[in-house]
């Protein structure tokens, strides 16, 4: 079904392009603990790719490898047809990769708008001196970046909390603000670490809609980790299943659902 370069067409008629990112035989260890063991998969242009698995399966570690935060002991990360060297997080961001965190990592004391604006930092070129002068390039740059931030705020429907300090927001909205900050950098690849953890049904539905809309409107490639199987199966085009650091399944939601190894991992297996 898959062709290395050609891509494929989803059930709802979206065209998925070629490989954007490829993980080749990744192994990650923390001392004696092997978090990820020899895992390979790819992420294609324009798709929503999910990584699922039971607790402790190594999903977040995998996402940290993709985002360049962890460096695997073995294996290679290929991004846009080239092997990616070891990078600092800001260099990863400059490449067009943005992420959200499982435990929200916003600047609590700052307003929603300011938090979203931090997503534009990699685009701000004015030096500290021109910033201090303000008039001229620094101001133009700020206005241009603010416009992008405002479009994201409009898109995610958080206008009413624009000036509210993040610390005063409920959990579900904080998650949305984090997504807004990630989107503000206009990423090519968006990494979402459990975007729906701890949300109620309505908040989950809202978040799902936003994720789909982001993918639809901006063509952003999305890789997400999620616990809620229902959400994952509805949202994603392809799913990687991990268990104890190993890949036990990879394919469309339907394929994964009927995969015996996956069923065993989730429902348990009778040992005799």
């Amino acid at each position: 079904m898959l062709d290395a370069t050609e891509g494929y067409t989803t059930a709802d008629g979206r065209k998925i392009g070629g490989v954007v990112m490829e993980m080749k035989n990744i192994t990650l260890r923390f001392g004696g603990v092997t978090a990820i063991q020899d895992i390979s998969f790819d992420i294609r242009e324009g798709e929503i790719r999910a990584i699922i698995g039971p607790n402790g399966a190594g999903k977040s570690s995998m996402l940290n490898v993709i985002s360049g935060f962890y460096v695997p002991q073995e294996g290679e990360v290929w991004f846009r047809g080239a092997r990616r060297p070891q990078m600092r997080p800001y260099q990863v961001a400059q490449q067009g990769i943005a992420r959200t965190f499982q435990n929200i990592a916003l600047f609590e004391g700052m307003s929603v708008l300011d938090n979203v604006m931090t997503g534009r930092l990699t685009e701000m070129k004015a030096s500290i001196w021109t910033q201090a002068l303000w008039k001229g390039p620094a101001e133009r740059e700020e206005v241009a970046n603010r416009e992008i931030a405002e479009k994201v705020i409009d898109f995610l429907e958080i206008q009413h909390i624009r000036k509210t300090p993040v610390s005063r927001l409920p959990y579900g909205l904080k998650k949305r603000v984090e997504l807004a900050r990630a989107l503000a950098s206009e990423p090519k690849l968006l990494l979402l670490d459990e975007p729906m953890a701890g949300m109620n049904v309505e908040e989950k539905e809202d978040m799902s809609r936003f994720i789909l809309d982001v993918n639809d409107e901006f063509g952003t490639t999305i890789a997400l980790i999620e616990h809620d199987m229902g959400v994952v199966m509805d949202l994603s085009d392809r799913v990687v299943v991990m268990d104890y650091g190993k890949k036990i399944g990879d394919g469309s939601p339907d394929e994964v659902r009927n995969n015996q190894a996956v069923i065993d991992a989730y429902l348990g297996v009778a040992h005799d």
């Binding site: 479009k151 809309d213 639809d216």
Partner: protein, 657 residues
């Protein structure tokens, strides 16, 4: 500010008024909308160009004279333009409530046979697509916000901007025809059709002519000296006649600027930024604002709270008198001025009422305490009484004659009559033409001489000439012993308490009154937080014994206040329960304008009503609810029923059995 389009006599349609304003006030702002955090504005000249482009585009799509065009969405300049563009093309706009569910929309669209629908966003487009198979005349839909609609089948779906672009391209070809249609609009042609939400039965399409709209806008603008300098926030449902008159009729007549909020959730922030000079809101909005203020004051520091309480008490004493220009002692005036500096001014600023010159409330009776609160701050809040069929205005309160318990004197050009049963009738230039395709209802409501029945019971005060409305004529009943039963009167008193969102009183034909109560989640929730009361859901909070104690206190206070009016003292609430769910328009319990449908509630919760009267202490019930996406579910609860102390006519406290 005094300059109005007084020379606009002879302008007999909204497109004609638009053209007049675009000529006279070409560069003054006509519309503003906050988008991407900035107020964007359009002048009258730009507005006319936008509207013309849309009208031509719609004609290009095949819009014919006399067609009906449904318009659904939140308040946005583009949708207000759509209404006038439709008129310019000789068709009739039919604005619909944006929160209507698909079946309700199907009925209205089918009833008027709309060929075109102009929708605000994906949500509205989806609803129309869901029911389009039932609509034989439906042809094209124009949408405003393209988000999420990219993959939809575009054979009958057109983006708003594309329609305008096509209109601009076809300008040379279609302009003569459009000019002909616009100039052909006569004073007695239909201006707009509005569906009344209807407390009972199917919605009815109220046909209003250009005469109705323009005459009402003109006389009311003159009554309150509205000029082109007014600032108005358009946030009420576009399908409601009030919004059409205030945001379109009067705006076009006087030439003032209409401001649209950024999103429904930002309304209070936008209100504060705009600082309207002329403001209209149903009592619910004033209640919500007051509740917000009260909640925040509960959390304020001790000094601020004491200052607030002290000066508010003073304001209640002398504020309304100062506003009405009545004599007040110098010391009291001085103290009021200090209060303005420390409390009233900042408070008005927070609520966005700093610049308000005239404020109106209507739609339902407002609690006197709420009304006086705003008046005492120096906000010229007045009441008016009206309905869709009258193009809003039946009676209004003139400056200086404002009271909480009346709805004012007949508006300019309105004649009033009270019939033997106490029902109020009126005749006016604003009286509607007919109910669309419903001659029986038209005949029932409007007699050949032009008198229209309001369905409300009231009387005219002998000495002042003010009208007082008691209740809906069919709701005012008798109790078993023949005493007058006016449920709304009691409900309004209960609803003044920030903790009570909604109340439904029963008692017609019974020996005593009982009530259902809905708590206000934001107010009671904040109270629970302060008192360390844990709760997981609305239902749990509503059933908490301490909440019941608090509500019981409110009910008993209301009973004491009702007992002071000998005519209505029989309406004291003997027993009550706190409902386990919020009353909701989606479940048919409220109308879209959030009026209580007492009869439907009585039938739906018949088991609870029964329990109120049979003396039991608690009752188990199951209720079907509709979720936002249309799915249905059930909630189960065991509700506690409380007895409330009542005051007997001899003013002797008496515990209920």
């Amino acid at each position: 500010m005094a300059e109005t389009t007084a020379g606009a006599e002879g302008l007999r349609s909204l497109p004609a008024l638009l053209h007049h304003n675009a000529t006279r006030f070409a560069n003054s702002p006509a519309y503003r909308e906050k988008e991407f955090g900035i107020w964007q504005s359009w002048t009258w000249a730009e507005t006319e160009a936008e509207i013309e482009a849309l009208a031509l585009g719609l004609m290009k799509l095949g819009l014919a004279e006399g067609d009906f065009v449904a318009i659904i969405g939140r308040n946005r300049p583009y949708l207000y333009w759509a209404m006038v563009a439709v008129q310019m093309a000789g068709a009739v706009p039919v604005p619909l409530y944006q929160d209507a569910v698909a079946e309700e929309m199907a009925y209205v669209l089918g009833h008027c046979g709309a060929r075109f629908v102009i929708a605000g966003d994906q949500e509205q487009v989806d609803k129309v697509i869901e029911v389009q198979d039932q609509l034989h005349q439906f042809e094209h839909m124009v949408y405003l916000d393209p988000r999420g609609l990219r993959k939809y089948d575009h054979s009958r779906l057109h983006p708003y901007s594309d329609v305008q672009a096509q209109g601009r391209a076809a300008r040379d070809e279609l302009m003569p025809e459009m000019t002909r249609r616009r100039d052909a609009l006569d004073y007695d042609d239909t201006c707009i059709m509005l569906y009344t939400s209807g407390t009972t039965g199917r919605p009815k399409g109220v046909v209003l002519s250009n005469r109705n709209i323009i005459e009402s806008a003109r006389s009311s603008a003159e009554f309150d000296h509205l000029g082109r300098g007014e600032e108005v926030l358009a946030y009420l449902p576009m399908a409601w006649v009030g919004d059409f008159i205030f945001s379109v009729g009067q705006g076009y007549w006087a030439g003032f600027c209409i401001n649209c909020p950024e999103s429904p959730d930002t309304m209070l922030t936008d209100l504060r930024e705009i600082g309207p000079s002329y403001f209209f809101a149903p009592p619910r909005i004033f209640e919500t604002l007051l509740t917000t203020v009260m909640i925040r004051m509960e959390d304020a520091g001790r000094l601020k709270k004491r200052m607030f309480d002290y000066f508010m008490a003073h304001a209640r004493k002398v504020g309304p008198a100062i506003l009405d220009g009545k004599p007040v002692s110098g010391w009291d005036r001085f103290k009021y001025r200090i209060g303005s500096l420390l409390v009233y001014g900042p408070l008005k600023n927070t609520m966005g009422f700093s610049k308000i010159r005239v404020g109106y409330t209507a739609g339902e009776a407002i609690g006197p305490e709420i009304f006086d609160f705003y008046r005492s701050l120096g906000i010229n809040l007045k009441q008016l009484y009206g309905q869709t069929e009258a193009t809003v205005f039946i009676t209004v309160q003139p400056d200086g004659e404002v009271r909480a318990d009346t709805v004012g004197v007949p508006a300019p050009g309105v004649e009033l009559r009270i019939d033997e049963s106490g029902e109020v009738f009126y005749r006016s230039p604003g009286a509607f033409v007919e109910y669309y395709k419903n001659p029986e209802s038209t005949a029932d409501t409007k007699d050949p001489e032009g008198w229209v029945a309001t369905g409300d019971a009231g009387f005219i005060e002998e000495d002042t000439g003010h009208l007082r409305i008691i209740d809906r004529a069919k709701d005012v009943g008798k109790m078993a012993d023949g005493a007058m039963f006016a449920p709304k009167y009691v409900e309004n008193k209960l609803k003044f308490y920030p903790n009570i969102l909604e109340a439904v009183v029963f008692g017609a034909g019974r020996d005593r009154c009982c009530a259902f109560i809905n708590i206000d989640l934001s107010a009671v929730g904040s109270w629970a937080e302060r008192n360390n009361i844990a709760y997981a859901s609305y239902q749990e909070l509503a059933g908490h014994p301490k909440v019941l104690d608090m509500i019981q206190g409110h009910v008993e206070e209301v009973n004491r206040s009702i007992a002071e009016d000998p005519m209505l003292s029989a309406c004291q609430v003997h027993r009550f329960l706190v409902l386990h769910k919020e009353l909701d328009a989606d479940d048919g319990e409220l109308t879209r304008t959030r009026k209580v449908r007492r009869k439907i509630i009585g039938e739906k919760f018949a088991d609870l009503v029964e329990a109120l009267y049979d003396g039991s202490d608690s009752v188990y019930t199951e209720t079907e609810v509709t979720y936002e996406d249309g799915r249905k579910g059930k909630i189960r609860a065991t509700l506690e029923i409380r007895d409330a102390a009542t005051v007997s006519l001899q003013r002797r406290p008496m515990a209920a059995e």
